[in-house]
Subunit: 391 residues, 2 copies
């Protein structure tokens, strides 16, 4: 690849495989290990872009599937791309659309060419393929594009998992070819009605293979052979046991190219992220901080706190007295609980802001501890704090 | 009254009765004419306190009825009062609860003593009286307390309107007596389970009399006889014609004590507010900017804009290019429309922030024009801008 993205490892922790680094894109840099808040429909739910910037989000994720259906990539492309459309000048990663096609659509039809599916909004018929996913992501102009993959269902037999990863790898090759074509040949982009708003889009390949370690190795080897700017571990956090997930991550992460960012997709709890960082993973995304916030579940340094609990009715303390976020600086548990119980929008806003800040602060603490060589101590102390349990 | 509130008129426009001034409370000052965003349940819907401060809100309104039912005034009082509970250190006005009892409850029972009603949340039985309303508002510790009134239903016969205003005035006297008792006698507060968190609460009386001008005069005269820190025109914007409303306001506003703030309750559209300022009104509140925002209706200097309209799908312009709010500085109509159509919380947040900012900026422009002696020119130009109509 032609340096669509620079990745520099700045520190590796001696006791663990944890590493700190910096990824540079055409929309600036972000430090790793990084957590990417999920901006499904062009918005990290309930938060303004200003809040995200102030909380320290240096990269966010957009969902190709959702933005394709609404407002549509030609609209976003015509308005200058996703960065301009949502007014976010820092890096954006877009997923391939594959995961949502598989998780939101019962009536999909898979073929070598791609996936036919019906919109979950209005039932209209659509078709996604590696080429189409690249067209959309090129139209959006994200800084990191994900190859179109089949997220292998769980559980899967070895045979099924093998067939699935082989399909994913053929699609990865087609993804790479199509994205290069779009970038290098303006007529190709014109032909599908878009203009190229970001010529320096990096492309990540996605490792599949379910819980079969040798299939994970095979998937990775083939992807490395094709060559990507970064590599992601997909098909986890889809129903398998935690033990299986970490068996895969601990096996495959150390085999992933050292000079490229390693991204564990869709993970996870604070505990999961800390453990995966210890295994050498650099990037994460998850809807958990925002989704749980809207359900009244708040993350704290002493474990999860359910703000619906009546014990917080008169509680003048901040959500987490160890937290330095804008919510904890100003509001009490009693107020946030009142907002939640009253169904007020501000309850979702403040809860989401706190949870996203908690995740981002956790990543920052990890990065600092890796640089200082104290990651193991941070991990042990952080995890024992979480385990105290507040719910 | 003992100077619970200072009011200074700083400029009176020569061509109209419009006046600019400053009200000072124990939580600081606000300039008039002032618009008070409505914080029904201890939150101006969808906005953070930081957003309100940045948008220039210098006083907000809290609803006694809603806060009484949830989370309850003993809870708020115990946590230090409404200012501390919601983290808002600028002035707060609380209404008396009367309006909501009448508008949200079919099953209310009115007597000389007060009003029995059922909670709109869980059907539980409650009783509000002038004394109870003062107990609640003292517990909340707002800077401006409203006397407990009966909002005369519309339409009303002359007889009904007379009986209603006389009841309201007897309740006004009882309100004044009770609030003084609570402030002067700590045992009285203790006896109802509250502590006095704000000793310098001002009390406003509410003029009723429906659309009968001589009844409005009678109501005002009796209230002035009792003596209040400010006077409000109630019982308007409840279904009467616009013409009737302005007949009442233009008749009664000039008769209201010059040395006290004049407050027109529950009004209204930008046009209504500008006209009422021209008649000498100083204070306003209305749910319109926030409620309409959540329904996709945005205020602009060229009239209302319905963001649902498909014509805005690809519109890269800000909501109002003459607006200096944080939303117009950053986001396009196309993005706000996308958020609205996708049911995203951020759509409500940005729309509410824009609309509230529009109202606050309009008040600021009016204040400046009054001080400069150009209010008539401002009014004519502003109203003709609105009339261009964008919807």
């Amino acid at each position: 690849m032609n340096d669509k993205l620079q990745f520099e490892v700045t520190a590796i922790n001696s006791g663990a495989r944890a590493r700190a680094g910096r990824v540079t894109t055409s929309h600036g840099s972000f430090d790793t290990p990084a957590f990417m808040p999920v901006g499904t429909q062009g918005t990290v739910k309930a938060l303004t872009q200003q809040m995200l910037e102030d909380a320290g989000a240096s990269i966010i994720l957009g969902n190709t599937y959702h933005l394709y259906l609404r407002p549509g990539y030609p609209t976003i492309n015509q308005l200058g791309g996703l960065h301009r459309f949502i007014s976010w000048e820092r890096p954006i990663l877009t997923d391939s659309g594959g995961f949502q096609v598989f998780s939101l659509n019962e009536l999909r039809k898979l073929s070598e060419e791609g996936v036919a599916f019906q919109s979950h909004i209005d039932g209209s018929a659509h078709f996604l393929s590696p080429e189409k996913s690249m067209d959309i992501q090129a139209g959006l102009g994200s800084d990191i594009v994900m190859a179109f993959d089949e997220c292998t269902p769980f559980p899967a037999s070895r045979e099924e998992a093998l067939a699935s990863l082989e399909l994913t790898n053929r699609w990865a090759r087609r993804s790479r070819q199509r994205l290069a074509e779009l970038h290098e040949n303006s007529a190709a982009a014109e032909a599908v009605g878009i203009s190229i708003v970001n010529k320096t889009q990096a492309l990540f390949g996605i490792i599949q293979g379910s819980t079969f370690l040798e299939l994970r190795e095979q998937s990775l080897a083939e992807l490395v052979d094709i060559g990507f700017d970064g590599y992601a571990i997909g098909g986890l956090s889809v129903g398998e046991e935690k033990r299986s997930m970490f068996e895969v991550v601990s096996h495959i992460a150390p085999m992933m190219p050292e000079a490229r960012p390693r991204y564990l997709m869709g993970v996870g709890t604070p505990e999961d992220i800390v453990e995966a960082v210890a295994l050498g993973v650099d990037m994460f995304d998850c809807v958990m901080p925002t989704r749980n916030a809207r359900n009244g579940q708040l993350f704290t340094s002493r474990g999860k706190l359910n703000i619906k609990n009546s014990r917080y009715k008169d509680d003048a303390q901040p959500i987490d007295d160890a937290c330095r976020c804008a919510v904890c600086a100003r509001y009490s548990r009693a107020y946030v609980r009142h907002l939640y119980m009253s169904g007020e929008i501000l309850g979702s806003v403040l809860s989401s802001l706190h949870n996203v800040s908690f995740y981002l602060d956790m990543m920052k603490s990890m990065r600092q501890s890796i640089v200082l060589g104290t990651f193991i101590e941070f991990r042990d102390s952080f995890l024992s704090g979480l385990a105290r349990g507040q719910d």
